[in-house]
């Protein structure tokens, strides 16, 4: 199959022309037994009529087609206005300096391309090159938002038109990046394509009001309104966790109870509510560990104090700031000494460092990552462990927002080296890790046929890497544990393992770090990790 080469100006092709397509034969191959290619889910005829489908044959955003030319022109005008606002100190002080340093000084050397797992997995499709969308965006900024830009563009500095095709394709294309920042890490000039991609998403959200419904309407808006993107209200959160406490008490004989709204506690633990629903073992494991270690801790029942996610990090500074402010206000009200993150990567990045320059005065409460918190518990000497209870192959996935983007590398490894005799690293790992493929909010997005793209393209390199880590015992007869201390990563792996049948074919399950710790506790007689569940 001949590789399709794209020009930068192709982005502005008029109409519904699809720029490229993903053929499974072009993707890098998977090892047996995953090498039997199945087709990718296509848009239905009805969807093709209703939805914009002019990029790669996938729809992450289900963007409806505009009714008429006037509507198109309205969006084009808003897009141009948004470009200018991105360069304004008032509207974009949050990222103006990093944005300009990345926009103005790229050498176009393409060194970053091979670092991108999406680009590599796709068989090096131009459309997924980290520089493709950012170079287009750069040229649009230069032409439409800077003085003399149109003249410079006409003289050959990159003349790309803004039309409906341009903005609708860029919108969809901004969600073909996981914001993992491997490309930024390899850039010798410090250019950050992921940051530019996020600025593009931000423009769409903050100016046009366009954002994936899973991130905005059913994400940050719902979280600020009722407490959680899961839709879980405070009373339901309390009910669910009480049920988990009772269930654990019944099955192990060890009485556990989760403290709620305990004023003056040392620690406010901020789980992701998605864990309560999808990975409840993680939540109860924290309860068991905090209680066993004698920590003074609490959960909050005030919305959104029981859900630490912050999808604003992926697409919108205002929503990001609103959520971190709410979390800090709740912690201040409870008079806790510090906030500790649950196992959620982007929550870590959002609340520990990004929020550091949004929270002022008494809102700037100390915040600790989950990994060092668990490390302190494990090595406190207050809990007895028997590592032989974890004598099965374990590998560690490094969530980008915990490791490359936050620098939390060793605590989780010290725990695994101590408690898991068969722990092995992936290659590469640590700050050089591969993204799970669901970063940047993609893991919670599953509209139309987007799940097929996530598991086949953005998650492909990771899936191969996991299989390689367990290559010494590839069959399903040996249970293998992928430790992924991040809710979004676990959701991506859940989709991926289900799609490929990894549990049945290779015996791999995915869970968090706290579960492995509880599984190794001498006092918990019954195995905490149940291999029969995902």
């Amino acid at each position: 199959m001949t590789k399709k080469h794209l020009k930068l100006t192709d982005i502005s092709k008029e109409g519904d022309v699809q720029l490229d397509e993903v053929n499974i034969d072009e993707l890098i191959p998977l090892p047996p037994p995953y090498d039997k290619n199945e087709g990718l889910k296509q848009l239905t005829d009805d969807q093709k009529v209703r939805l914009v489908n002019n990029l790669d044959g996938f729809s992450a955003l289900a963007l409806p087609k505009p009714k008429d030319k006037a509507e198109e022109n309205k969006y084009i005008g808003q897009f141009v206005a948004g470009l200018k606002k991105l360069l304004s100190k008032e509207n974009n002080w949050t990222f103006l300096q990093p944005l300009l340093l990345s926009l103005d000084y790229c050498a176009r050397c393409q060194t970053c391309s091979d670092a991108c797992t999406v680009y590599t997995a796709s068989g090096k499709k131009d459309i997924y090159r980290p520089t493709y969308r950012t170079e287009i965006f750069r040229r649009l900024i230069n032409k439409y938002a800077k003085s003399g830009g149109k003249l410079r563009a006409a003289l050959g500095a990159g003349n790309i038109e803004i039309n409906w095709g341009t903005i609708s394709r860029l919108y969809e294309l901004s969600y073909r990046c996981t914001l993992c920042r491997r490309c930024a890490q390899i850039c010798p000039l410090g250019v950050d394509n992921a940051l530019i991609t996020r600025e593009l998403r931000k423009l769409f959200s903050q100016e046009l009001g366009w954002a994936p419904k899973e991130l905005h309407e059913k994400g940050t808006v719902l979280q600020l309104e009722v407490g959680s993107p899961t839709g879980m209200r405070p009373a339901v959160a309390i009910d669910n966790i009480e049920f988990l406490d009772e269930d654990f008490t019944e099955s192990t004989g060890i009485k556990v109870a989760t403290p709620w709204d305990k004023e003056g506690a040392d620690v406010l633990l901020l789980h992701s509510a998605g864990d309560i629903l999808s990975f409840p073992a993680s939540v109860i494991a924290f309860t068991v560990l905090c209680n066993a270690a004698g920590i003074s801790w609490t959960l909050s029942s005030e919305a959104p104090g029981y859900d630490g996610v912050n999808y604003g990090l992926f697409y919108d500074d205002i929503q990001l700031a609103r959520i971190v402010t709410k979390h800090a206000q709740i912690a201040r009200k409870l008079k806790v000494k510090k906030i500790v993150m649950g196992e959620c990567g982007h929550e870590h990045k959002a609340l520990i460092t990004v929020a550091d320059r949004l929270l002022i005065g008494d809102l700037n409460i100390p915040r600790q990552d989950a990994m060092s918190f668990l490390e302190d518990i494990v090595f406190s000497g207050k809990i007895k462990f028997d590592p032989s209870k974890n004598n099965f192959p374990v590998t560690l996935h490094d969530p980008c927002n915990v490791v490359r983007n936050l620098g939390i590398v060793e605590p989780q490894r010290r725990i695994l080296r101590y408690l898991c005799p068969q722990f092995r690293e992936m290659t590469p790992h640590g700050v050089d890790n591969y993204c799970c493929g669901g970063g940047g909010g993609l893991s919670v997005m599953s509209d139309v046929n987007f799940t097929d793209w996530k598991v086949n393209v953005s998650g492909r390199m990771k899936f191969i890497q996991i299989l390689e880590a367990f290559a010494d015992q590839p069959g399903p007869e040996v249970g293998k544990y992928l430790c992924a201390p991040c809710l979004n990563c676990k959701l991506q792996f859940k989709d991926m393992f289900k799609y490929y049948g990894a549990r049945e074919k290779s015996g791999i399950i995915c869970g968090g770090l706290a579960e492995l710790i509880v599984n190794a506790m001498v006092d918990v007689k019954k195995p905490f990790i149940t291999w029969d569940e995902e």
């Binding site: 080469h5 794209l6 606002k85 100190k89 008032e90 509207n91 002080w93 103006l96 300096q97 990093p98 300009l100 103005d104 176009r108 050397c109 393409q110 060194t111 090159r129 003289l155 050959g156 990159g158 920042r181 930024a184 890490q185 850039c187 010798p188 000039l189 410090g190 950050d192 959200s205 903050q206 100016e207 046009l208 009001g209 954002a211 419904k213 905005h216 808006v221 600020l224 500074d317 205002i318 700031a321 609103r322 402010t325 520990i352 460092t353 550091d356 320059r357 949004l358 002022i360 700037n364 100390p366 600790q368 060092s372 918190f373 490791v403 936050l406 620098g407 590398v409 060793e410 700050v431």
Partner: protein, 309 residues
């Protein structure tokens, strides 16, 4: 002509210094931004393998003081070695490295010419047979830097033109200005080679020209040397209109963004800057923002019930 060359040289140097200064000040005066580090942060003690202060809950809120020196040394070394390119883009490095070495050495060549002129004015001849060691050092320094600069620069310029034209991935992202830059630098370096071979094999004229620049007593040089001086001065004037600033902005991108690593302490300047920024008005138009208010008012409001259209 002699006066013109001196005047042009003064103008070119003053112009480039002013333009670069304006650009640096503009970048430096941009508002403080949200933290967006990327690990490893070289200046942290455990930075080599990627770990952060944040790993240690007892340490991370302390003011460690930024060890900028380590970062600057790393970046300076990187500016000379291009090891990141060597590791990840070897073929590109093969032409990029000599091109940049050409630039670095041509700058060193001119700095040596300037100080060589001062040495000459002080009464020490700069020559191969000078009785003064300083005179010998400047003679050979200028000769070696000039020759290597012209040769590597010309090789790199020609190589980059070929590489960018031959490599489809690079060609697709190139603008006419990229090629103009390469051609311009190629002409500058070739003119240097031509002047060296056919007019000024020991750079005697060039050294005398610089003495004339410093003392404001212009001297006559051969046309080939004059052509090179004019081309180099034009190149200096052109540089601020290219992305050449990345040599400097790279330090900002690393030290102020990627390795920023400055906690916001209560009562600090960062906090006071943020307070001011939170009072800025917002004019984003999306319905969920309800603009026309300040950041602080928008962020701390109670209800957000707008839906995505």
């Amino acid at each position: 002509m002699n006066i013109f060359l001196v005047a042009l040289t003064y103008f070119a140097y003053i112009f480039i210094i002013l333009m670069y200064a304006v650009k640096v000040i503009k970048i430096a005066r941009l508002p403080v931004h949200l933290r967006w580090e990327l690990y490893p942060v070289i200046s942290e003690p455990k930075g080599r393998y990627g770990s952060a202060y944040i790993e240690d809950e007892r340490e991370w809120r302390k003011n460690h003081g930024k060890t900028v020196r380590k970062g600057i040394i790393y970046l300076l070394k990187e500016n000379l070695k291009f090891s990141e390119y060597f590791k990840s883009n070897r073929w590109y490095w093969l032409v990029l490295f000599p091109w940049h070495i050409g630039f670095i050495l041509i700058i060193v060549f001119h700095i040596l010419c300037f100080f060589g002129a001062l040495v000459m004015i002080a009464g020490n001849p700069v020559a191969a047979d000078s009785v003064y060691i300083l005179g010998k050092i400047f003679y050979y320094g200028i000769l070696v830097c000039g020759v290597i600069s012209f040769i590597t620069g010309a090789f790199g310029s020609a190589g980059l033109i070929i590489k960018r034209l031959a490599d489809r991935d690079l060609r697709a992202f190139a603008t006419p200005q990229n090629y103009l830059n390469y051609v311009f630098t190629l002409v500058v370096f070739l003119s240097g080679i031509y002047a060296w071979i056919f007019a000024d094999p020991t750079f005697y004229q060039y050294r005398e020209f610089w003495r004339g620049v410093v003392t404001l007593n212009p001297v006559s040089v051969e046309p080939a040397t004059a052509a090179h001086i004019i081309l180099f001065d034009m190149f200096l004037i052109y540089l601020p209109f290219t992305r050449s600033m990345h040599y400097i902005t790279k330090f900002f991108a690393f030290l102020w963004v990627r390795w920023d690593d400055r906690p916001n302490f209560r009562g600090s300047k960062v906090e006071s800057d943020i307070k001011g920024l939170l009072d800025k008005p917002v004019s984003w138009s999306a319905p969920h923002i309800k603009s026309g208010r300040t950041w602080a008012e928008i962020v701390t409001e109670k209800k957000h019930d707008e839906k995505t259209p």
